[in-house]
């Protein structure tokens, strides 16, 4: 994928540090993300990539370093310094977070329509008919049957639950999505269709995304740029094709060769 991105970053992280006991989960990590860009963070389990995602999205505090986000009102805001109400509003409107397990991102005792409509209601939508119309629209955007709008999430397959989680997150047209192994735990064929859908949505919406995955095929399919993590450090960054086709760091070379063998 070749895309020209705007000059100023949407999200900027500088010198991120995080330890869990003796484990150095993030060691001086810095990165930029531009509007409309998809950044893949790849690495094995324990590489610190999920911790990094949680820090970038304001879900956990770093020990050192700064994460700044370009808010809609203009200007960069320190994600960890803003008030809880402001951060929550960001998470409800301008950000999406797609969990690997849809159960972590859905309300399992609320209908598909209620799940999709929740963010709208959280930001003040008070017209039932309009909320419902928007929910139908989004179910269709993620290729779900509109007729299942009143069904509970548990009546859906894993792949459909993941689509529902995506619709629920994108309904407020966020500018940035955080995704943690978004296709993990799904059958290969289901995974492929979901990846196509995600790629289409990201393109249509001009959504920027940070996608954490251990699966280089997922990273190649979705991301413009890659950051390779190992033991809390980013060892290599670059355009996705470059990194995967011509890895420079020995660890990336190992990672790429092992996936090719598999």
């Amino acid at each position: 994928m070749k895309t020209v991105f705007s000059e100023s970053p949407l999200l900027q992280a500088e010198g991120i540090e995080k330890r869990f006991g003796r484990v150095h989960a993030c060691n001086d990590v810095s990165l930029d993300l531009y509007p409309g860009e998809v950044l893949g963070i790849v690495g094995e389990s324990g590489s610190g990539k999920t911790t990094l995602l949680n820090i970038l999205s304001g879900r956990i505090e770093p020990e050192a370093g700064v994460v700044e986000y370009a808010v809609r009102e203009g200007g960069m805001r320190d994600v960890h310094q803003m008030g809880a109400a402001e951060r929550r509003m960001l998470m409800r409107t301008d950000w999406a977070f797609v969990h690997q397990n849809p159960r972590d991102g859905l309300r399992m005792n609320v209908s598909a329509g209620g799940n999709v409509g929740e963010r709208l209601m959280a930001v003040g939508a008070r017209h039932y008919g309009q909320i419902r119309d928007t929910a139908v629209d989004w179910l269709q955007k993620v290729e779900m049957e509109a007729g299942r709008i009143d069904d509970l999430p548990r009546t859906f397959s894993g792949g459909m639950q993941q689509r529902l989680q995506i619709a629920r997150n994108l309904v407020t047209r966020p500018r940035l999505a955080f995704m943690d192994e978004p296709t993990g735990g799904l059958d290969v064929s289901v995974q492929a269709r979901l990846l196509d859908l995600l790629r289409g949505l990201v393109g249509d919406l001009g959504l920027a995304a940070i996608v954490v995955t251990h699966d280089l095929a997922v990273a190649r399919h979705l991301s413009h740029r890659l950051a390779v993590m190992r033991r809390g450090e980013v060892v290599e960054t670059g355009l996705t094709d470059q990194v995967l086709d011509d890895p420079q760091h020995p660890y990336t070379q190992l990672l790429v060769s092992s996936i090719l063998k598999a």
Binding site: A84, A85, R88, R92, R107, N109, V110, S111, G113, G114, G117, E118, R119, M121, A122, V123, A125, R126, H127, Y128, G129, I131, R132, I149, D150
Partner: protein
């Protein structure tokens, strides 16, 4: 509140108890929680709920609030489902008679302090009255969010979208807002509150009521309040506005068309009639000469 004035027990009170059963220190602790609740309308104030000589289901939260505010010159009314003579109402009333010796009444107008489960009296309340509600579940967000830490955060951040999700689900499944009891309200434009377990019919009476309204949840250890003349708005959607229950019938005994009606079975043949759930209101109307279809002039 008359509670802070004289607390000399009357002669007929059982002298084995402190006035209103609770010791003075406990009453002061509860009053502090009440004052905080009044200062932050609709906010659930935690309090160190005490064991009372009755089961939780009997409204120990309301009983503790009443015990903390009652004074020896209060006139107490206790109602359960609108009636003064259910087992629950009778035993709470006799508990306070035994421990305070206060005068009691069944007449809403004559009471200075009313403890209730389920109903707000039909007779409009006045500025010199306090209404104490017994509450089983104080948390309006509990239905969809069982985590206490999360519901607290939602209240703190005024993050109430979930409340509308509940109403959305109602309409999606029933075609209309099917919640008829414990219907959520927003108090003074800030906190969402559960008036549980009163029928939504009574929600409009809470709005700008001249009386002080106090809510006590014993098992859940929470007290909350609506100060006099406070705005209480029932949540709804623009295209599904809040409505109170309506009946096709008038009260069979007093002919009232503006009160909450209970359907009662009259005989073995299954004959039914609708009568006011507020027995004092019904009686007062009949005494004033109103007669319903099945009623006889008093």
């Amino acid at each position: 509140m008359t509670a802070v004035q004289s607390e000399t027990p009357r002669a007929e009170a059982d002298s084995g108890y402190n006035f209103a059963y609770l010791d003075e220190q406990t009453k002061r602790m509860i009053r502090r929680a009440i004052l905080k609740a009044v200062a932050i309308p609709g906010y659930q104030v935690p309090f160190a709920s005490r064991e009372m000589p009755m089961p939780y289901g009997w409204g120990t939260g309301g009983v503790q609030v009443t015990a903390a505010v009652i004074g020896s010159d209060d006139v107490l009314k206790v109602i359960d489902q609108g009636s003064d003579d259910t087992t629950n109402a009778v035993s709470i009333r006799s508990f306070f008679v035994r421990t305070t010796g206060v005068e009691t009444t069944e007449k809403t107008r004559d009471a200075t302090l009313i403890q209730t489960r389920h109903r707000v009296p039909e007779t409009p309340l006045s500025e010199d009255q306090i209404l104490v509600y017994q509450v089983p579940i104080p948390e309006p967000l509990r239905f969809l969010e069982p985590r206490e830490t999360e519901t607290r955060r939602m209240h703190a951040l005024e993050d109430y979208g979930l409340m509308h999700v509940k109403l959305y689900e109602d309409i999606a499944h029933h075609g209309h807002i099917a919640t008829t009891y414990a219907y959520p309200v927003k108090v003074a434009g800030r906190y969402v509150m559960d008036p549980s377990p009163t029928p939504k019919f009574d929600n409009p009476k809470m709005n700008h009521s001249p009386a002080l309204q106090l809510f006590g949840a014993g098992r859940e250890k929470r007290i909350y309040a609506i100060p006099p003349h406070t705005e209480v708005v029932s949540l709804d959607f623009e295209d599904h506005p809040f409505e109170v229950q309506q009946w096709d019938n008038a009260c069979a005994l007093c002919g009232a068309t503006d009160s909450f009606l209970d359907e009662v079975i009259m005989d073995d043949a299954g004959k039914r009639m609708f009568v006011c759930s507020d027995s004092d209101y019904c009686e007062e109307r009949r005494a004033a000469g109103h007669v319903g279809e099945e009623g006889v002039p008093l």
